[in-house]
């Protein structure tokens, strides 16, 4: 059975990666067409730049939504919120990850191929490899790698990632932090953009703080587990007068732990 399932696993994996590539490819083609239209209006030189910026902002907003849904999915109070339903939350989280990837690819492809941008393929994937604003671009590059790590291990959960995907998944919040800095340092040309980054950043921060500081049910279990059973002896219940180790009624035996 194991060989059979492994074969089909790889097949299913191929289909899924194929789908993602298909969506990405069609997005690139569509964007290229839009880019042609834009260049007709603003001229060849500015078109890729505007398109790249637009894809970056879209990708950032999708990533914010992705992380917000992830935080809702794991929030200690999640069981108290009725809408959206849990099934919808999971589906939306997964869909957002695909669309975030698509627009990130677009963002990179457009800016890497833009000969006026000064980023290039090297700068798009190698830290400090960009001539244009090397530090902000590097933050984006590292954010990309950490995001890919969180996404790919989750997509492979149950296959090769086994149970390690869950601890790794939590680096997604670092990815968002890096991407946020990348956006703030390299992506602000109007005051409206600044307020966008502030509002979305605060939203994620508030939810993340609440998710990690709210006491969960597991804390309540730990509290219940902390109340241990105790052993008593006749001396605990019928103290011998004058003895030093006499304990008062209700006091617990010093022996405490029961198990071996």
């Amino acid at each position: 059975m194991s060989r059979e399932s492994a074969t089909v696993d790889i097949k299913a994996l191929g289909i899924r990666s194929g789908l993602v590539m298909l969506v990405t490819g069609s997005a690139v083609v569509t964007s290229w067409l839009i880019g042609l239209a834009v260049s007709a209006v603003v001229g060849d030189r500015m078109a890729p730049w505007i398109l790249g910026r637009a894809a970056g902002i879209t990708s950032y907003l999708l990533l914010v939504g992705l992380v917000l849904f992830g935080l809702v999915l794991s929030h200690p109070h999640r069981a108290r919120w009725r809408r959206p339903s849990v099934a919808t939350r999971i589906r939306t989280h997964v869909s957002l990850s695909v669309f975030t990837l698509v627009f990130t690819v677009l963002h990179i492809v457009v800016l890497a191929t833009d000969k006026y941008a000064g980023v290039g393929w090297w700068g798009s994937f190698v830290p400090m490899g960009s001539t244009y604003r090397p530090l902000p671009v590097t933050l984006g590059v590292i954010g990309l790698y950490s995001g890919l790590l969180a996404g790919i291990t989750a997509a492979l959960a149950g296959r090769i990632a086994r149970r390690v995907w869950w601890p790794i998944h939590k680096i997604a919040i670092i990815s968002l932090l890096l991407v946020w800095l990348h956006g703030v340092l390299a992506g602000i040309d109007t005051p409206a953009m600044l307020s966008l980054y502030v509002v979305t950043g605060v939203a994620v921060l508030v939810l993340a703080v609440s998710r990690y500081t709210t006491s969960s049910v597991r804390d309540e279990v730990a509290e219940l587990a902390g109340r241990r059973a105790t052993e008593i002896t006749p001396a605990d219940v019928f103290p011998v007068p004058g003895r030093a180790d006499v304990r008062r009624r209700g006091e617990k035996s010093a022996r405490g732990r029961i198990g071996r």
């Binding site: 059975m1 059979e4 399932s5 089909v8 696993d9 999915l73 794991s74 999640r78 069981a79 009725r82 339903s85 849990v86 099934a87 939350r89 999971i90 997964v94 989750a154 959960a157 149950g158 296959r159 990632a161 086994r162 149970r163 995907w165 869950w166 601890p167 597991r218």
Partner: protein
């Protein structure tokens, strides 16, 4: 495998044990992460609070066993298992 071996193996197998397992859960370990319902949508639904409801049926189909194996392997809390 030569026929006598196959016969011998069959004879050794416990009589009452069905080969098809059930998908089972230790509910005290589950934290309602939700990855299982995503990986095994035909076998697992989630309740109103995000905790999995498992199919009570035996996993007779290969596709079901595949989904179940993936869900078991992906569960970060090790709450899911295949049992009888």
């Amino acid at each position: 495998m030569t026929p006598p071996e196959a016969v011998l193996r069959q004879a050794r197998a416990p009589v009452d044990e069905s080969p098809d397992p059930h998908l089972r859960i230790d509910p005290s370990l589950c934290d309602g992460v939700g990855i299982c319902s995503h990986l095994a949508p035909d076998l697992i639904t989630v309740d109103s609070w995000g905790y999995p409801i498992l199919t009570p049926a035996r996993l007779t189909r290969a596709g079901d066993r595949r989904q179940a194996t993936a869900a078991v392997a992906a569960c970060p809390k090790k709450a899911l298992y295949l049992g009888h």
